[in-house]
């Protein structure tokens, strides 16, 4: 495959273990800057594990180890000098079960911003507005910014979480099945959002929904039992997969 874009995340020979259990096997992949990369594969194949390796969320789980290389902008993420907190600030994450903090909508957005430095009220107001606009939520919540975020609908909550992640201005946005708990209309809105956001961010998306991968992603990787079976342009994967397993999975013969 042609590499017409700069590489944002590159792994080589990357493996992850949960204790004795190996969850990822020698993954080698190039994730391109400002593209949407989708990961598909049956449940338990290691998609989330891979995603969480990029911003080192797996560090939180006791007994997790990894080997091989995982680089962001050419910097080894698991290198000695890397500070996870700094790393995570430049890599946003949206979870499958995204619960907003039990605070107001406004405070949810400003949470990440106020962690490191004091900012003026005007600046915060401005960022809250632009972030919510980017997440296509502004119109719906602009009159109740001080209300609890838990009063929002599921779809709104998920967009709030995206706005929350966008507010700290990351370079990469990791999304782990962001739509799996949403109704079709909310899903449509989030997908639209992803397409808009890719101009600014490198987006990595895990999904169980093949149509979704086909609709929004530029590249698609297929995982099976901890191995990256195939990685290519989305169009190629869905029209002419080179591996038998990929074809079987896409055509719904298993998984």
């Amino acid at each position: 495959m042609a590499k017409e874009h700069p590489v944002k995340v590159r792994t080589s020979d990357f493996s992850v273990y949960y204790g004795q259990k190996q969850a990822l096997f020698n993954i080698g992949i190039d994730i391109f800057d400002r593209k949407v990369t989708a990961f598909i594969g049956p449940s338990g194949c290691g998609k989330s594990t891979f995603l969480r390796s990029i911003n080192r969320m797996n560090d939180l789980i006791d007994g997790t180890r990894c080997s091989g290389k995982l680089e962001v902008d050419g910097i080894d993420v698991y290198g000695k000098e890397v500070d996870v907190v700094t790393l995570r600030r430049s890599i946003g994450m949206v979870f499958q079960k995204s619960i907003p903090f039990p605070k107001s909508i406004y405070e949810n957005i400003t949470y990440g911003l106020t962690l490191t430095e004091k900012r003026s009220k005007d600046e915060l107001d401005h960022i809250v507005e632009t972030s919510l606009k980017r997440a296509a939520l502004w119109e719906e919540v602009k009159d109740r910014l001080t209300h609890s975020a838990q009063g929002l609908s599921g779809g709104q909550q998920q967009r709030l979480c995206i706005a929350r992640a966008v507010a700290v201005n990351p370079e990469i946005l990791l999304m782990d099945e962001p739509c799996s708990a949403l109704d079709p209309i909310s899903t449509g809105k989030v997908e639209e959002l992803i397409t808009e956001l890719k101009d600014t961010y490198t987006i990595v998306l895990v999904t169980h929904n093949m149509q979704q991968a086909a609709r929004v992603s530029d590249y698609t990787g297929f995982f099976l039992m901890g191995k990256l079976i195939e990685f290519d342009r989305t169009r190629s994967i869905f029209t002419a997969p080179s591996k038998k397993e990929t074809e079987d999975y896409i055509t719904g013969r298993f998984g």
Partner: protein, 373 residues
């Protein structure tokens, strides 16, 4: 390598300080256990020094530390009590206990004229005396009567409390409908909310009278009344822990037994109860720990007579009650003081041992049992 943009920022020093502060504070519990042992045991060291006998009961502090003016003019002094050979603090008529020594004036234990002769027998010899008469010209620190008294009340408390607790736990875990169980559990656990001084008072006034009417015992307060009182504290502990471990038995076990044609009750008694045996055992162990170390109930309901008898209807004196009753009047630093701390050390070591057994042995067994299946 030069610093790159993911390199650590300065602010992380605060992070480390926070984490280490938390860790250090978290070690308080470990430290406390250690300190309890050291400082309770340390006060017994007077017993080890050769001239321990001669510590004068002097000083204003000794008087200051006394529990306040108690009025007990009618009661016999401890010494008189000993001479008359009746239990020193037990008052058979009112069923109440007097102070070992009325302490209206001056220090409780004035230096006795006979100190010199007394010094010939070491404290250690005195520990094996047959009697507990700590306040006397020839003090006897025989701990046997106290140990026997403690054993009696603890045994009775467990005999009563453990079956009640376990059976109630079985009802709650196996037979009760979910709605009943949800109410029953917190209700029984209310028992644990009664301050022990209140339970002691209940035994002193209500249970004692009831038992005397029922059994016609000679002494109003005795090991039976004390045992009943202690069982009230044992029940909620045994119930809670037994209930928890009975409920934790895998459902598959129950279903397998029922599928084989066992009835509900057979399954409960023959399959579930044995499966949860280590947990139930732990419940009983912790119940024992609670009963034998309980002070206020023992002080108020057992009659407090350190007599070495076999009968369960006799007044007794437990180890914990002895500390509770006498520590307030003792001269700090005296032999008597040291022996009381020795009793405290015994209580601590036994409770530590019981807990260690449940923690290290019983829990391991439980884990292995359920994971092995």
């Amino acid at each position: 390598m030069s610093k790159h943009r993911f390199a650590a920022a300065q602010r992380h020093r605060g992070e480390h300080i926070a984490e280490w502060t938390i860790r250090i504070v978290a070690s308080t519990s470990i430290l406390t256990i250690f300190l309890i042992f050291v400082f309770v045991f340390r006060e017994t060291t007077t017993l080890f020094s050769p001239d321990a006998q001669n510590i004068p009961s002097s000083s204003a502090t000794a008087e200051e530390i006394l529990t306040p003016e108690l009025y007990n003019a009618d009661a016999l002094t401890a010494e008189e009590a000993h001479e008359l050979n009746i239990p020193e603090v037990y008052n058979p008529e009112t069923g109440t206990l007097g102070e070992p020594e009325p302490i209206a004036l001056g220090g409780p234990e004035l230096p006795r004229s006979s100190t010199k002769q007394v010094a010939e027998r070491s404290v250690w010899n005195r520990l094996t005396d047959a009697a507990w008469q700590p306040v006397s010209s020839d003090p006897k620190f025989g701990i046997m009567p106290l140990l026997v008294g403690t054993a009696k009340t603890t045994f009775l408390a467990i005999l009563l409390g453990a079956p009640l607790g376990i059976l109630a736990a079985m009802y709650s875990a196996f037979f009760a409908p979910a709605r009943v169980r949800n109410v029953l559990k917190p209700t029984i656990e209310l028992l644990a909310g009664f301050p022990s001084v209140v339970i002691g008072f209940f035994c002193l006034t209500i249970v004692a009278t009831l038992m005397q009417d029922l059994l016609g015992t000679e002494a109003r307060l005795n090991a039976i009344v004390g045992g009943i009182g202690l069982s009230i504290t044992v029940i909620p502990i045994v119930f809670s822990i037994a209930e928890e471990s009975l409920s934790a038995v895998p459902k598959s076990l129950r279903e397998a037994s029922l599928a084989l044609g066992g009835t509900e009750w057979q399954t409960a008694y023959r399959v579930m109860l044995p499966a949860a045996a280590p947990g139930v055992f732990a419940a009983v162990l912790l119940g024992i720990g609670r009963a034998f170390g309980e002070t206020m109930i023992a002080i108020m309901a057992t009659g407090n007579a350190p007599m070495l008898t076999a009968g369960i209807a006799d007044p007794v004196r437990t180890v914990a009650a002895t500390i509770g009753a006498e520590m307030g009047e003792v001269v700090w630093g005296s032999d008597h003081y040291g022996v009381l701390f020795l009793l405290g050390t015994i209580l601590f070591v036994v409770s530590f041992g019981l807990n260690a057994i449940t923690e290290l042995y019983v829990k391991q067994r439980l884990i292995r049992k359920f994971q092995g299946q």
